[in-house]
Symmetry: C2
């Protein structure tokens, strides 16, 4: 295990792939498989075996030549690396359609994210409940963040207010922000931010479509 | 411009950052700025200037020492690289909460993605309209894909059926699939697939939280 307290940016693609390794490894464990080869994982992940071996270095688990990696050791090490299997209390800011979709998302609950409160500026939403989570007026966020032990804020607000909402959360002492937006957001260095940007995915898609069939997209 | 027809996997992080460069560059152009330095872009993007210069190599635009990069040339080159500014007809498969959020997403329309039809297996949704897009029964997807010139399918279906739906789309001759799921999905090599995986983002967040405050997450 690396001794670094913060993850280097060049390790982030590896971390992003870890849930997929976990999913494959859990399937193997459920079928009673004890060892797995990097070439098998490469095949299932659609990436190069060299990249698999490099990824798995981060877990600290070494493979044995001609035997492979011990499946249960890998699972335990990845879960430890990701801090999964623990509960992480979160709040949701912005209870629109995307926010509601996240409130109902099974994968979050399954991976320990417990959304304990939602916030919205729409007065008609205050007091209602979405997927069992109460929506509070956004004006109360600082007060409630002080009373509850919330480490993570999941932010789904319009682009125009995304930086302003982020600043309020930072002022309220939030540790981590998971924000769904396409605009640039700045946070101080001590705040962990993960941005999910729909346009990044679209860029990859349309760049590939443009290259593969340049005549196919009408002007 | 690179002569490659398909993008190498090591270029994908660069492509993912391109919409952010565009956003900053358009802001500069609107303010009448003619040139921009890699260090300014690095600052705004929160990445290293060396990485900025490496990213911008993909555009084919070279910077001039002490002057920087020509803003409008960079914008034009990135738009060409991404195939943006053109219209891309798409369909949505799975009109649940996430699907509805995507149907109403301003960023997609703004970047040329025109969702012309939605599909859902729920018979109660058939014939309704979400954000102006008609929902058709999923059973009609092959027939309608043949009649309409749809290159891209945006897929937001439950994990259990994600691979099955993908296979049907591939059989129907779809060029590209943008799928929102956490499970591994396989497509033949000729189909472009971009997967948005909520768990990848969560993995990065919780790995960082675990490292930064190992005692903060309760067991």
């Amino acid at each position: 295990m690396s001794p670094h307290k913060t993850l280097k940016i060049d390790k982030l693609p590896t971390i992003r792939r870890m849930p997929n390794y976990l999913q494959i490894l859990r399937g193997l464990a459920a079928r009673g498989e004890e060892f797995v080869s990097s070439s098998y994982l490469a095949d299932r992940m659609n990436i190069d075996a060299i990249l698999v071996r490099k990824d798995l270095e981060l877990t600290g688990i070494s493979g044995t030549p001609r035997v492979g990696f011990h499946v249960r050791d890998l699972i335990a090490s990845i879960e430890k690396l990701l801090g999964w299997g623990k509960t992480l209390d979160a709040c949701l800011v912005g209870a629109g359609q995307l926010g509601a979709a996240l409130l109902g998302h099974r994968d979050l609950a399954k991976h320990g994210v417990r959304i304990v409160a939602a916030f919205d500026t729409n007065p008609e939403k205050a007091g209602t409940s979405i997927h069992g989570v109460t929506v509070f007026p956004f004006a109360r966020i600082q007060e409630l963040l002080k009373r509850l032990t919330i480490l993570l804020a999941i932010v789904c607000v319009p682009a125009e207010v995304a930086q302003g909402v982020t600043d309020i959360l930072v002022d309220a002492g939030i540790e981590a922000i998971w924000i769904f937006t396409s605009v640039n957001i700045n946070v101080p260095e001590h705040v962990i931010m993960q941005k999910e940007d729909l346009l990044s995915g679209l860029a990859v898609l349309s760049a590939q479509l443009t290259r593969r069939c340049p005549g196919a997209l009408p002007e």
